[in-house]
Symmetry: C2
Subunit: 338 residues, 2 copies
């Protein structure tokens, strides 16, 4: 059976403050006070109004309340999209917000440069009391509400931020490959506008130099953390006469894209090609060949950002920059080169 939305549905009259007021025989102002637990209403009135509210199942309209009121008790998580990386952060942030009395709203607006500025303008102040920005595209967003950035933009930021030791993590990954005996190591670089993207490349380069292994610049490409770009880059690299024996990708999704390409080309991972990623999203362990990767404690990072945000919206101070430790998780996508 196929049905359109309107077929057979009478328009549902939304119950509003005025309805409750009428039913309870009081003014809308009084109902509003009851709903928000404001002082200045007698016990009897509160009880009567509450009864009506429960009976008709009134739940305030968030737009209206936000438009007029000062706060909404809603916090935002502003992301470019609901992909694995953001999803992990959201899980952590949500868990940390439990019991805080705040509702959560994850928003994915357009992409493009400055999406978080746009999201913040659309939601900030009226809809949300504060926000966590995931991989923001601009350095210093003018904000009307408290904001915490995760995996922030490159450059000195005035925002409180949460990230991880990207240089050390990338160095550990690269060193792991070198110690296995790899000499032709490719690097699939991340977003160059993000601190993480730059630092991971820095870690790669310092580790290679420290070991005295030459970097073939043809094997260093930008992928912007985008799987499609990574797939293309991997394909052309692996078609080279002298192809790399290992790839270090700046995040897991690009690493997994490269793995797909390699497997499609009939290469064995890890024996023809070792691959290391970065992030340790759950998908890394679930890959066809479980991915060796640099683990960032993503859920903890989301939780930490939420704690900072809760402090800020509560009027307290918070740490300005929190940096988490990474750890190399060796799985099955890396081995000695043949």
């Amino acid at each position: 059976m196929r049905r359109g939305y309107d077929a057979g549905m009478e328009p549902v009259a939304r119950v509003k403050l005025a309805d409750v007021a009428r039913l309870a025989g009081v003014s809308v102002a009084t109902v509003s006070k009851v709903v928000n637990g404001r002082y200045g209403v007698s016990k009897e009135t509160v009880a009567r109004v509450q009864e009506v509210i429960d009976e008709v199942g009134y739940a305030g309209n968030l737009s209206a309340a936000g438009l007029r009121g000062q706060r909404t008790n809603v916090l935002g998580i502003l992301v470019g999209g609901f992909e694995p990386f953001s999803a992990e952060l959201m899980k952590g942030a949500w868990a940390a917000a439990e019991g805080s009395g705040y509702e959560l709203l994850a928003h994915s607006g357009g992409h493009g440069h400055g999406w978080e500025r746009r999201s913040l303008a659309r939601l900030g102040g009226t809809l949300i009391d504060g926000a966590i920005l995931v991989t923001p595209t601009v350095l210093n967003t003018a904000t009307g509400v408290p904001v915490v950035a995760i995996d922030p933009h490159y450059g000195p930021s005035s925002l409180p931020t949460v990230d991880s030791h990207n240089v050390a993590g990338a160095r550990a990954a690269t060193t792991h490959l070198i110690e296995l005996g790899h000499r032709r190591v490719a690097f699939l670089g991340g977003r160059h506008d993000l601190d993480s993207g730059r630092r991971r490349e820095e870690g790669f380069r310092t580790a290679m130099e420290a070991a005295g292994v030459e970097i073939d610049e043809d094997l260093v490409v930008e992928t912007n953390y985008e799987p499609e770009l990574a797939a293309h880059a991997a394909e052309s690299m692996l078609s080279l006469p002298e192809r790399p024996t290992a790839i270090f990708a700046a995040n897991d999704t690009t690493a997994l894209a490269a793995m797909d390409v390699a497997l499609d080309m009939g290469l064995s991972v890890p024996y023809d090609l070792s691959i290391v990623g970065f992030d340790d999203i759950p998908e890394a362990a679930a890959a066809p060949v479980p991915l060796t990767t640099v683990r960032q404690p993503l859920q903890e990072m989301g939780a930490e950002a939420m704690h900072m945000l809760l402090a800020l919206v509560g009027g307290e101070a918070c740490e300005q920059h929190v940096r988490m430790d990474t750890s190399l998780v060796v799985r099955e996508s890396t081995a000695e080169p043949r």
Copy 2:
């Protein structure tokens, strides 16, 4: 350095429609028309206004626009929380919404019975043009906007729904255990108010009966899909003089909770205890012992729900009930009993 929110920040004056109007020398009505691409503005005026908009970086206030306007071009995903199950659905729904012109808003309000009714009342109509409800707690939610339910409530629903073949999936899981030779099989049941919870128990029971294996009712417990309850149940079961040799849990998170308990008790998974889950969230493959589970194509389900919702908000009809196939994914948490 620790800093509070207010320290050193001048209040950011949000740029509003009236500001743009003043700068462009037109009325707010005209600016609104330009922003929304309405007819009735000359090319020259459009250009001038657009220039100002770009210059000052105006982005409309969602609350105000939603409050007054008929539609917001925002769709909601209403969940009880940002846990792995919902996160997978969100990934799929997001991917399916790409290019549709809609923004996405995932909302996690309170828990408790009827949270989706509350969420819908708070966001519906003004903030969002339609919603996907994930595991709703009530049968028939009166809605003012188009709604699609994923993993719906038990009972005949008037809402369009997306789910999977729960009975067949549960039967496959149970049969897998029986064929391995297990006779004392425990069942950690799911939410009894959800169709999925009931059907998975049904699948378990029919498979056991079909194989002529007796069900020990002490080994069948409700967990409400909650890991904590599952952990408790598993602990007491595994402390029994004659403990089960296998557990089938109605979802992955409870299965993983049971696995944790078993490993903590020093049991070997799978040799002392086989465990099967349901869902195939990414965490299942990433578990200490990779989890054998019944795979639901969660991202596809999220995508399908989004397609249905897009059809509905577009005024088209959509399929009323979509049911996806499940498949048993055998990993390392199941083996023959010793």
